[in-house]
């Protein structure tokens, strides 16, 4: 099995999809000739031509809006938004159109489309190359939201997302892009949407995490391991979330910590806390805890004070366990 970085694994998934299905097209700023600013689409224009790997003008609303039209025609567009921080000019097309099109057309038109976008901090990107806007999209009915944490899942989830019938936001943790290599099977395989993965079993506290913060959660779990036995769940699909896996774990541990980079207030952590309360209240032995980014724009110099890194997760685990 070849070793791949996440960048390579995503590239591989795109290549496989495009070979397998003539309907798959990629479009975005700088995705073609140069293969994306993170080189995720490198080599694909050479193989599939400029008609299927398209460099667009600088307009995110145009990229997504055109993709909607393409999906209506019957293609499977995979638009890229260069950084999640620049997704807002496309917000109207995503929220008002892509998310509602199936429903409001009485099911006449679905919009199968995967919006890929690098997100998250830790690369000294400051305000506009670091954001984690996932909860904005989770709030909007009609969208699916996926976030892989490793190369294997990235490839398998992307293959599933491209074959899904609904619009998917696919958030790629850029801090992980080249951080590590991993065995990734050649060829086609699927990691199903809406299935979480228990990456570390434990009895005392459940940690819910995704993307780059998963590693911080695991590191924190290892650090407290002598004292506290932590279960870490990689959600992988944020919405619709795998509620069964979460609830089963929390019923076992009675304690839950949610970790995310996005600002705390109205982040996805709030939803997870609410779901846990609704479905496992009597099993809770401590209040659910959120370890998150702060309610500020994403800072540059102090980004390691902003991010919910292991040093901030550890005390949360200890306190929760001791509650």
């Amino acid at each position: 099995m070849p070793e791949m970085t996440m960048v390579q694994a995503i590239n591989d998934a795109l290549r496989i999809s495009m070979r397998d299905d003539e309907r798959v097209v990629l479009l975005g700023e700088d995705v073609g000739k140069v293969g994306g600013v993170f080189r995720v689409t490198a080599g694909l224009q050479d193989e599939f031509g400029a008609e299927r790997v398209i460099d667009t003008p600088l307009a995110e609303g145009g990229i997504v809006g055109a993709s909607i039209g393409m999906a209506m025609y019957g293609l499977r567009p995979v638009p890229e938004i260069q950084f999640a921080d620049f997704i807002y000019p496309a917000f109207d097309q995503i929220v008002s159109e892509a998310a509602k099109y199936r429903y409001r057309s009485g099911g006449e038109f679905g919009i199968p489309m995967v919006i890929r976008t690098p997100f998250g901090g830790g690369i000294r990107g400051g305000h506009y190359h670091s954001q984690s806007p996932e909860s904005l999209f989770i709030h909007v009915a009609g969208l699916k939201v996926v976030c892989p944490s490793n190369p294997y899942d990235a490839k398998g989830l992307l293959l599933s997302a491209i074959r899904d019938e609904d619009p998917v936001l696919f958030f790629e943790p850029k801090r992980v892009y080249r951080a590590a290599k991993m065995d990734v099977p050649e060829g086609d395989y699927a990691v199903p949407l809406s299935k979480a993965k228990v990456v570390r079993e434990g009895a005392h506290v459940t940690v819910l995490a995704w993307g780059a913060m998963l590693y911080e959660a695991v590191a924190a779990a290892e650090e407290v391991a002598p004292k506290v036995d932590v279960e870490v769940i990689d959600l992988r699909t944020l919405w619709p979330v795998d509620i069964d896996t979460i609830v089963a774990s929390v019923k076992k541990t009675g304690r839950v910590v949610v970790v995310h980079e996005a600002p705390r207030t109205c982040g996805f952590g709030a939803e997870l806390v609410s779901l846990v309360c609704e479905k496992a209240f009597l099993h809770l032995e401590a209040p659910p805890v959120r370890v998150t980014g702060h309610d500020t724009p994403f800072p540059y110099t102090l980004e390691n004070d902003y991010l919910p890194l292991a040093h901030r997760i550890v005390p949360a685990l200890l306190e929760t366990a001791a509650y």
Binding site: V25, E51, R52, T56, P57, A59, G61, G62, V64, G65, A66, S67, I68, G69, M70, A71, M72, Y73, G74, L75, P77, P89, D92, Q93, S96, E97, K100, Y101, R102, Y103, R104, S105, G106, G107, E108, F109, G110, A141, G142, K144, D164, E165, D166, S194, P240, I243
Partner: protein, 371 residues
Amino acid sequence: MIRYELPPSRSVDHTDIETVLGPDGRADPHLDPKLDSALVVKIYEAMLRTRVLDDRMLALQRQGRVSFHVGCKGEEAAIIASAAALRTEDWIFPCYRELGALLWRGFPLQRYVDNMYGNADDVVQGRQMPDHVTGKQWAYASVSSPIGTQIMHAVGFGWAAKLKRQKLATAVYFGDGATSTPDFHTGLNFAGVYKTPTIFLCRNNRWAISVPSDKQTASASFAAKGAAYGVRSVRVDGNDALATYRAVREAVERSHEGPTLLELVTYRLGGHSTSDDPKAYRLQEEVDLQSKGDPLTRLRRHLELLGAWNELQERRFVSQLDSEIKQCVEIAEKKPAPELRSMFDGVYAERPWHLDEQYELTKRGPRPGKE
């Protein structure tokens, strides 16, 4: 080319306008698309049908039987003659005033009226406001309220067809107000760069609710905007069914070369919608003056000259349509509301767990009383 004079007050015109039908009902022999007179009659009937329907829906709204209606009084030529010039394989991406184009393609009247009532047989299952229909079978996309968003879809759809070497054009309708939106800009720009087979139909009806078109832009005309994108554009008398047909037909024929922007200069004779009272912002004199250019009157005069239409036909057509409408309304009013589950279905291709839960909980009740 006969110049059709627009009243100067609200005018943003500094460029020529393409007109075929003269005030006397005669077609300019050089520009006349020379359509079969049966086709012209069919276009006229469709325009008349829309006019009558608008009137009856307005009445139903005033009686509180439907909650809302948005019509196209005064814009019938711009809408129907353009749709008539499209080929069956060409797709329509509507704004909210182009019901006439959908009916032209054969959408059944009952289906429309069911949508007005949002009942169980409504194609969109009562999920959207009245007049927000969909007609995939008729190559007609979904109507939504946000202004301009459909423009990018038309571009993307046509672009996809081009990539797949399928010969079709996409025609997208929007108003003068919509030219200020991001989607107009992006749509024209992408279409220009990728030479998509898109026909941009800007219904310049001179008003965006209360904002007159000369406050919408300082451009010499809406057609003039095409140059900013390298997109061919033509300014057409949108109250002239023949000129509109001719210009759209040409755009269709040239669609394999790339896009065309057509400014169809017309006038919104009615309120913006049933929610609007235009007396608050425009003078009755302006409306009276514009009524003289009524596209139905102009086309009817032409047909009468040709001996292809007369008062008797008109009356017979209207009375038959009226009983058809009446019947559809009666049927629609008897139909039940959509079932509760229709509210939770169709958000995704398959209903996920959280919507199952929400459905079950809501079904268990209590349900709301009639308000």
